[in-house]
């Protein structure tokens, strides 16, 4: 043991940095943000990547026609300084900000958006987010190879303006444009380093990258850090108080937590569940908790007996005590779900209810005629302690209130995804985070044969309502139709919503103007450091 003691005394003697400023202190003085950013980004090509860490980086490097407004979930002018919407809601004309520049000094032009959207919609690129642009006239047909001529797609340039024609009036079209898949790439750079549809294009390398966002790419060391610094050519620099950002790929939440506590990062993007209560008590100003536009639910395979019986599904839902799950297991201020789409008091707030009623559950369960001696049903989830705890609680509730036996199966992420897609499951845990703040991003998923439906459920009336809603210009009327669809979903329960996600993370008090919004998006040019 002596050597340990000697080593410790030596280190204590030579380091002794307890009085020194932490990295966060030093970087704050220089106006540089240090962000814990989850996993290593798979890339920074906005038309290929699909994850949250990638989104956080692209938010610094590129800018779309509009910017997400972190205060009210709406939009602010971006590359487009203004826009005109036709009376029928089908045509959007974007007028470009003459000050919007690429990092090489060139102006961002409408033609660059035409190229970019052609790129993401080209089937050869294999872009997984191409369907975000399906609201544009003929975009889906072009993407599916049914038409080859891109000039037939509803995007064109007229008198230096970008004119977009939609399939249907889509009042949330501007919200869609805050998604990175709609952001532009610099055509000449893309062509130079691999061509429009090459997935192995090298245009995103540090020395090649040309962006149009508030920051420019400085360095990128894999699994270490990605650094950006203020783009002096950015049109909105007057309000930008951040000089640079360092994105640190830290996928281990305990490491991230330790680093935050030792003053190594301004933001730890997750908090270990078991530490939430302690943070709430000891460091409440640094713990941030707010609603998130996501639902945690159980997906039911309605192609299988007895799960094809609506009474059986209702019995399952009625015997789940959601309050208990939220308060005793999750403990992260999550809200119990009463609808599939997370409610928003200021916009879409459906009146559907999901009650906990074991008596009614038992009656419906009997009506379904299910024999509890049958082979037990399986609940499938991807390996995670959190999912396991919830599954165990629900297993217990179904056993207690219905006498139903279920077995729990945890598998690794890719196996879980493959089994869900192939329909090889009875009940599986699922979660969905909205891509833009509109109920459509949830409700559209349950339309017959949608890839993400995965339940086998189909309801002609539901499909019809969603179809009708798409042609409504009035948001009030559209929300009424959505609510009608939502009622069908909650009445038939191909999915059993459990709770609305909460974002919980640690944020240094030095970061100012941070907004708690349901998409958890804060464009960095609106932040400041103290």
């Amino acid at each position: 043991m002596h050597w340990l003691l000697i080593l410790f005394l030596f280190l204590a003697g030579c380091s002794g940095n307890t009085d020194q400023k932490s990295k966060v202190d030093l970087y704050s003085e220089q106006g540089i943000l240090l962000l814990g950013n989850g996993t290593e980004p798979s890339g920074i090509d906005p038309h290929i990547v699909t994850g949250v860490p990638e989104h956080k980086i692209l938010l610094a490097l590129l800018e779309g026609l509009v910017i997400f407004n972190p205060q009210n979930n709406g939009v602010l002018p971006g590359v487009a300084s203004e826009w005109v919407i036709s009376e029928d809601g089908l045509t959007y004309t974007f007028i470009f900000n003459p000050e919007a520049k690429w990092t090489n000094g060139e102006s961002v032009k409408p033609e660059h958006f035409v190229y970019s959207w052609k790129r993401i919609l080209s089937p050869e690129l294999g872009a997984q987010y191409a369907d975000m642009l399906y609201v544009i006239k003929n975009a889906e047909s072009f993407h599916k190879g049914q038409i080859k001529d891109f000039s037939k797609v509803g995007v064109s340039v007229f008198e230096n303006k970008l004119v977009v024609t939609l399939e249907n009036p889509t009042p949330y079209f501007l919200n869609i444009l805050t998604h990175y898949s709609t952001w532009p790439v610099h055509p000449e750079t893309v062509e130079k380093f691999g061509g429009m549809t090459s997935r192995n294009n090298k245009w995103t390398r540090v020395n090649n990258f040309i962006g149009n966002g508030p920051f420019k790419l400085d360095s990128w060391e894999i699994n270490k850090s990605l650094k950006v610094s203020r783009n002096d050519l950015y049109w909105g620099n007057d309000s930008n108080k951040i000089n640079g950002i360092e994105f640190l790929p830290i996928d281990n939440e305990l490491t991230q937590d330790r680093l935050f506590r030792s003053g190594g990062i301004h933001l730890a993007n997750t908090v270990p569940t078991e530490k939430i209560i302690r943070y709430r008590e000891e460091r409440p100003k640094e713990l941030v908790e707010h609603n998130y536009f996501g639902t945690y639910y159980y997906r039911i395979n309605t192609n299988k007996s007895p799960l094809n019986d609506v009474n059986f599904r209702k019995a399952l839902s009625l015997s789940i005590d959601r309050d208990l799950i939220v308060k005793s297991i999750l403990k992260g201020n999550q809200k119990v779900s009463y609808s599939f789409t997370p409610p928003d008091e200021n916009s879409y707030n459906p009146s559907t209810k999901l009650e906990f009623n074991p008596v009614k559950a038992k009656l419906l369960f009997k009506e379904s005629g299910y024999d509890i001696n049958n082979q037990p049903l399986e609940v499938l989830y991807n390996t995670s302690e959190g999912h396991q705890k919830i599954a165990q609680a629900i297993q217990e509730m179904w056993k207690k209130h219905l006498g139903l036996n279920v077995i729990l199966t945890n598998v690794d992420w890719k196996v879980y995804l493959a089994r869900e897609t192939q329909g090889e499951f009875d009940i599986s845990r699922a979660g969905w985070i909205g891509d833009y703040p509109d109920p459509f991003t949830f409700l559209d998923m349950m339309v017959t044969d949608r890839g993400n439906n995965k339940t086998g459920w189909s309801n002609a009336r539901y499909d019809e309502i969603l179809n009708n809603a798409a042609s409504q210009i009035s948001t009030t009327k559209r929300y009424e139709l959505y609510e009608e669809a939502e009622k069908i979903l909650i009445d038939e329960l191909p999915v059993i919503p459990l709770y609305t996600y909460t974002r919980t993370y640690l944020l240094s008090e030095r970061v100012k103007n941070w907004q708690k919004n349901i998409l958890d998006t804060n464009p960095y040019q609106f932040l400041s450091l103290e």
Binding site: I48, A127, A130, R199, N252, K414, A418
Partner: protein
Amino acid sequence: MIQLILKRLFTYIPVLLVVVIITFLMIHAAPGGPFDAERVASPEIIEKLNEAYNLDKPIHVQIYNYLFNAIQGDFGPSFKYPGRTVTELIMSGLPTTIELAIYSILFAIFLGVISGLVASLNPGKILDIVPMSISLLGICIPSIILGPVLVLIFGIWYEVLPVYGWGDNPGDKILPTITLGTAYAAIFARLTRGGMLEILGQDYIRTARAKGLSEIRIVIVHALRGGILPVISFLGPAIAGLLAGSFVVETIFQINGVGRFYVQAAFNRDYTMILGTSILFTFMTLTFVLISDIMASFLNPTLRDSGGLE
């Protein structure tokens, strides 16, 4: 000797070939594919992606193509990181992983050999029992536990060492090195003790003592050379084990080494990356075992004479 080394190098080919083929078959048999995602892509997109990465061809054609390209040094593009090649990703992390392994092995040899030496010179006494008990503990505590405990003590409670990174802050290499090296230090201590006890009982040591040589001279000049042989023989597998096992330490301390790719690739079904890292670790294991065999035969002429390399 050179002939024997060449012979051993020649065996690399069938070993690597078998590793590639088995890995290829295993990853394709595993459920789930590289393009499975929570947001399901349409069948048309999956088809395009399979085409882009040559996954639409029969498996034997894929293996042939892979081997053909691999021989020329092209290990393909990563599926998970579009725009980057496997070679490029491996090379971005390999120097760090090797550096971590070297520091850890030096730490393990230094601590292990000294403890083993002290223990062997005091058999049955407190200086034997204490280091050997601690070494047993060192073998038993996995790095996944030891790392966070060290971080808690030195990084958070006393704030004397950084808890993150590699080469970014002074002293940030200390905790990862200790975390990775401790288990091997413990093994080396036990191997040294065993080896030394055996040698110290040999006739030539008794002769040396009878001649009146000092104990230090006997131990350092005469006994250590033979006593340390088990350590040398174990060095190869130890370094290979350190490299392959470095992913835990790399994850705990967020070190940008190649070990993390090894594990992440399997979870991501990044086929080319799995193959690339498997080939790399197989190659390194074979090479380090060969090197430790060569070192052992230099230290022990009987091994050299009897063709111990084989």
